[in-house]
């Protein structure tokens, strides 16, 4: 059957049962069907919902620790503060951001590559529930006691107390292992899907940017997470038996700690930026209504980014006292190259296309600004020889709030707004989206800037008390920034609840933007089997090709003489 006779429009030809007749809710709230699902859409949504829940929790924790830092007279014991600090840092990166991107990828990627299903969905389901189990154990380990040390972000190993550590430490190590295993299984499933389930014509070079970024990120996860698990095994045994593997008495154990346990964080956070770049590329090309200036360049750059994230293992051999280093070695600085070039490609694509504004584009602009501020501050730190005391400097917190966590979070929320019509069949409110953007961007920027300035002032990481008035002002502003971040997340939740759950958002069809990639070739939300019919793929912008064919079949080509794609209106 050929496309042109059966399909007057690129959207699915099958009548959508949910729009005709009495409105039947698409997602029935049966707990059972969520527990036993193998539908990648549900699994993705579970990841996203869990991530948002952890985001709120982690944000509240951040507010508490920031409040203590800004007003040291607050009634909060020091060891409690250390616990909350460790909880906040680890929860926001591991339990929130990674899960949020995993959820978006699990939902969107099988649709983007045209398979409509996952390759081994039960593997991914196991990964999801293991991640949730690990998350629960992680929180529990901090509730039942004081895990040894301040988390895995320390650059020096945590020696075990003689006689063995308490059960809270063991539970903490176990929970990290569970979370790692969960993401490992999910990455394996995603990788298999992208590699093996593409339809004919969808070569690896034609895979959309987000799916390609997910492929690279899954491959790197597959290689980096087992190292982490090995390190956790050593750490767990050491702590449990009160051994001396990670004590200062044993020579040669510092690289072990750095390479396996601590430096896992490096590829992990790079991967967050990697999938953010891929998603942003797709968002930009969709709203510019033209494929990327050079899709092959995007593929190569994202692949390079992924490979560089692994070589960060090599980067910090000789640097012993910095966590996220401003004095970049060649490899660590080199990741700025693909990032910058990709951003330039976006600007070029927007310039050459016929863009229509969408709130998700604002998030991308915000992310670019955050990255730029990170780059500027990196140069400034290197130039001004920032003093890095042995526990790390607050400068790294600034780097985290802008580059490491801030920019990917912004793009993730932008991606939610971009793909919301596909995921829930309803557009989210643009004005509210702008409000969320302002809160998040100003919050991250303010917090990041304050921590950068505190770093230049010489403040150590985790400082409580002994503040000069300048430092106190900065901590206050940072606290306000943190409050804005939490507010932004809460407003996002409200928007989701109102537009989706309360069904107040505008109903959309399959293709509200006139998209280029295959996920727009099905209804919103898609049926359980993904697609009714998968269009043939002959380029990296299959739907544009479809529309051009349709235009040609209707008689006359509406191609501009610059060879651009026709700017088709958004009706699906």
């Amino acid at each position: 059957m050929t496309l042109i006779e059966d399909r007057p429009s690129p959207a699915s030809a099958a009548p959508e049962p949910q729009t005709t007749g009495a409105a039947k809710p698409v997602y029935r709230p049966d707990v059972e069907t969520w527990l036993d699902t193998t539908d990648h859409k549900r699994l993705g949504l579970l990841f996203v919902y869990a991530a948002i829940a952890f985001a709120v929790a982690s944000g509240v924790l951040g507010l508490i620790i920031g409040a203590k830092q800004a007003s040291p007279s607050l009634n909060l014991a020091a060891d409690r503060w250390v616990r909350l600090y460790a909880l906040h840092t680890q929860m926001s990166v591991l339990l929130f951001l990674t899960a949020l991107w995993m959820g978006l990828a699990v939902y969107v990627v099988p649709l983007q590559i045209g398979s409509g299903r996952l390759a081994v969905p039960r593997l991914l389901a196991t990964g999801l529930w293991t991640y949730l189990a690990g998350g629960g154990c992680f929180v529990a380990s901090y509730l039942i006691g004081q895990p040894n040390g301040a988390g895995i972000t320390q650059p020096t190993p945590i020696p075990a107390p003689p006689g063995g550590a308490n059960s809270a430490t063991t539970l903490w190590v176990v929970s990290l292992a569970l979370i790692g295993i969960g993401f490992l299984l999910a990455a394996a499933s995603l990788l298999t899907t992208i590699v093996a389930l593409r339809p004919d014509g969808m070569t690896l070079m034609r895979v959309p940017a987000f799916s390609w970024a997910t492929l690279v990120a899954s491959a790197v996860t597959l290689v980096a997470t087992p190292v982490f698990l090995g390190g956790l095994l050593m750490l767990g045994l050491d702590q449990h038996f009160g051994g001396t593997l990670f004590s200062p008495r044993t020579p040669g154990n510092l690289p072990i700690w750095q390479h396996t346990v601590w430096l896992y964080g490096r590829p992990d956070v790079y991967l967050l930026t990697l999938v953010a770049l891929g998603a942003a590329t797709d968002i930009v090309t969709t709203h510019a209504h033209r494929p990327s200036l050079d899709h092959r360049a995007v593929v190569v750059l994202l692949g390079l980014f992924g490979a560089l994230s692994l070589t960060s293992f090599v980067a910090s051999d000789s640097v012993t006292h910095a966590v996220i280093v401003p004095t970049y070695t060649i490899f660590t600085a080199a990741v700025a190259v693909p990032l910058g070039l990709t951003a330039l490609l976006w600007l070029g694509t927007m310039a050459r296309g016929r863009p229509r504004f969408h709130v998700s584009l604002a998030y991308i602009v915000g992310a670019i600004l955050l990255w730029a501020s990170g780059a500027v501050n990196a140069i400034a730190a290197a130039a001004s020889h920032v003093n890095f005391p042995n526990g790390g400097s607050v400068w790294s917190a600034g780097n985290t709030h802008t580059v490491v966590a801030g920019a990917p979070t912004l793009i993730a929320v932008g991606a939610i707004y971009h793909w919301a019509p596909k995921m829930w069949g309803r557009t989210l409110n643009t004005v509210v989206g702008g409000l969320v953007f302002l809160c998040l961007f100003v919050g991250f920027f303010a917090a990041g800037l304050c921590y950068y300035l505190l770093g230049y002032n010489g403040a150590p990481l985790g400082q409580i008390g002994g503040l000069s008035s300048y430092q106190k002002t900065l901590y206050d502003i940072a606290e306000t920034g943190g409050a804005l971040i939490v507010l932004g997340v809460l407003v996002l939740v409200i928007d989701l609840v109102v537009s989706v759950a309360a069904a107040r958002g505008t109903r959309t069809g399959g293709d509200p933007y006139g998209g280029l990639t295959l996920e727009w070739a099905t209804s919103s939300p898609p049926p359980a089997w993904g697609f009714e019919d998968v269009p043939e793929v002959r380029s990296e912008a299959p739907l544009a090709y479809v529309r051009a064919e349709v235009g040609r079949a209707r008689g006359g080509s509406d191609m501009g003489d610059r060879g651009e794609l026709p700017a088709v209106g958004g009706a699906g």
Binding site: T126, W129, W529, V546, E549
Partner: protein, 339 residues
């Protein structure tokens, strides 16, 4: 694709080797080999990735190209829903918690793991293309039922007996009698009420039963962790009653032990710190000194009975924990026989 990754990593491995960093070298070598393997596998898996580039060089008249086709999606390829991943994750969680909490939870996790594996096997078995209805009926009638029902029954009985026994052993004597009586009366009343019903809602029974079962296991586990109450034994004239020493919170609850020289001393040592090693070791001085006797260390939560004859001269010694020598200290007195 993977070939490129492997090559790049091999280069990085060489770099790390030049830095005299053995771990990094091994690690990167391993990564390089693994990714090379992965890449080899993927290329052998027959993924055909060649297609003409876009835009077509030289331009081809559109009329000469075959029209676009669509491929209907084969809905039968969808994997069927399954509860097994959820339960597998629960088992992993239980196992993990057990590593922190104690051996009992680990064993429970392993047993649950066996059940989950069996369940997953059963589901894969049913979904195999060669599976037929009569075969399934034969398996459940001839294979599963004869072994499964007795096994489930025994397990249930065992769990119930164990749980109730732990509860009864943990509470004071009078309370244990009361609990046993109340439980018996409760069972009588509940089943009497159920028998009187004309029609019983299955969901209600399952829910109530599940609830009771979970509550029983929870109470039993808690009681097992709490340990036994102290029992009095009728002491024989010659053997002195055993001394019980409890270690909890990295401290001895009993700070004095007295034994008779030359007689068998029975010391019951209970370690209530989950996951931590403690022991009782007798020394001549409060700190340092020469060892008199070192009891075998045990890892909490556990109990051990030391039977030891002390032949040292009567006097005052010190007993402490070899792992926490400053936090856990007590006085060890050796009496002369006949005093």
């Amino acid at each position: 694709m993977f070939g490129i990754a492997a090559g790049a990593l091999l280069a990085a491995a060489v770099y790390a080797f030049a830095n005299d960093d053995r771990l990094g070298f091994t690690l990167l070598l391993g990564i390089a080999l693994a990714t090379a393997l992965g890449g080899l596998v993927l290329s052998v898996a027959g993924i055909k990735d060649s297609a003409p580039r876009w835009p077509a060089p030289g331009g081809v008249a559109a009329q000469q190209m075959p029209p676009l086709e669509t491929t209907p999606v084969d809905r039968s390829l969808l994997t069927r829903p399954s509860f097994m991943p959820f339960f597998a994750a629960v088992v992993l969680g239980v196992f993990g918690v057990g590593l922190a909490a104690g051996h009992a939870v680990v064993i429970v996790g392993l047993i649950l793991g066996v059940f989950v594996t069996a369940g997953w096997l059963a589901q894969c078995w049913r979904e195999d293309p060669s599976f037929t209805g009569p075969e399934g009926a034969w398996i459940s009638d001839r294979l599963l039922a004869p072994f499964g029902f007795p096994l489930i029954a025994l397990t249930l009985v065992g769990i119930i007996v164990l749980s109730i026994s732990r509860i009864l052993l943990a509470v004071p004597k009078a309370a244990s009698v009361a609990i046993a009586l109340v439980l018996a009366v409760l069972l009588l009343v509940v089943f009497f009420a159920l028998a009187r019903q004309h029609k019983v809602n299955r969901t209600v029974i399952v829910t109530m039963g599940g609830f009771a079962f979970v509550a029983l296991i929870a109470a039993g586990s808690y009681s097992a962790a709490a340990g036994f109450r102290t029992f009095e034994h009728p002491a024989a004239a010659s053997t002195p009653p055993p001394t019980t020493v409890v270690a909890q919170g990295t401290a001895y609850k009993t700070k004095e032990i007295t034994v008779t020289q030359g007689r068998v001393a029975t010391i019951v040592f209970q370690n209530l710190d989950g996951g931590t090693y403690h022991n009782i070791a007798v020394y001549t001085e409060r700190s340092g000194g020469s060892p008199v006797w070192n009891g075998q260390p045990i890892q909490g939560v556990k109990k051990i009975t030391y039977n030891q004859v002390f032949t040292v001269a009567p006097g005052t010694y010190t007993f402490r924990c070899d792992f926490h020598p400053t936090a856990m200290i007590g006085t060890f007195t050796v009496k002369a026989p006949g005093s």
